[in-house]
Symmetry: C2
Subunit: 184 residues, 2 copies
């Protein structure tokens, strides 16, 4: 989306709506509408004994689901700070090593970047501090178990990451490379 | 989302935004924000000689991508009418047999239902009639080729359908069942 031409027509709590006049292939114009929401971070947190941390979560309007730790980036912090904070709040773990793994757009008519981090050598640092709108338990998965989560209906993950997990399940080379990225 | 409690705070061309006051687990309340967009249809169109039709498409603001035929349901039509119209406009084909295959929600904080149809015994009925914001070529894929599309980065499909295609690639039983559904 070209934000220089686009005009913001709505700003809410999470979502903003933009519109712009788009020239069609036949020369006519149509108003296009686009959404924007703040970037989020997600963290693949790996513990010292090679387990990957996944949240078993419930929110006031949902059933139980599994997801990666993560959340919105606050205005006062950069991506890395947001990743460390969310990891700490949602798992109780602190990471010794943190690196940005991939940034991607989730959705075709929405400006929303998900920034996914790999956190290695995670160590317990204290209790969870979830939002009042979250009930969280931390679950620990082996690499093999983790990949297979993608086939579950109640594992909520981004389109991009889901594609990556399937790729690892189907292609031994991709799986080996991902293992290297996570465990070195 | 509970639309009885929710209040519409924005209505645009495609998107509406709703807010409601949600009770948290600790008794406090927070305003939740939700999106709504009109339902869409997508069609798995199967020709007489067992090919599946996929669009090779470009829109004014995109690169070339592949997708299923489909689009928004107009206010004057039901789901089935929308599916037949979109199939006709975007492929030039008419379907002898049409059935709703699955309806699903695409996105966790958006009320948006995608209704996916299987159209069997499709026959050429005339020229394409794409929107002025679409450049379309129809491509014909065998069942095997079609399943593998899901691994391409420029195949745009819903989260649910993508999961289904991966399932078919990985599990012979699911693949056989889907083949039956498409070709009888």
């Amino acid at each position: 989306m070209n934000f220089k031409k686009a005009k913001r027509v709505y700003k809410g709590i999470i979502f903003e709506v933009y519109q712009w006049s788009q020239k069609m292939f036949d020369g006519s114009r149509q108003t296009y509408e686009w959404l924007k929401r703040p970037p989020t971070v997600e963290i693949i947190g790996v513990t010292k004994n090679k387990k990957i941390m996944v949240l078993e979560q419930r929110q006031p309007h949902t059933k139980i689901f599994f997801s990666m730790p993560g959340g919105k980036v606050d205005k006062s912090e950069n991506l890395k700070q947001a990743a460390l904070r969310e990891l700490r709040e949602e798992t109780g773990y602190a990471a010794k090593k943190l690196k940005l793994w991939k940034s991607f757009e989730e959705y075709t008519t929405m400006d929303w970047t998900i920034n996914m981090f790999i956190a290695r050598d995670c160590r317990k640092a204290g209790a969870l501090a979830p939002d009042p709108g979250e009930k969280i338990k931390v679950r620990y998965f082996s690499f093999e178990q983790f990949l297979k989560l993608v086939e579950k209906d109640n594992f909520w993950c981004s389109r991009y990451f889901s594609k990556h997990l399937y790729k690892c399940l189907m292609h031994p080379k991709a799986k080996k490379e991902f293992y290297q990225e996570l465990f070195g």
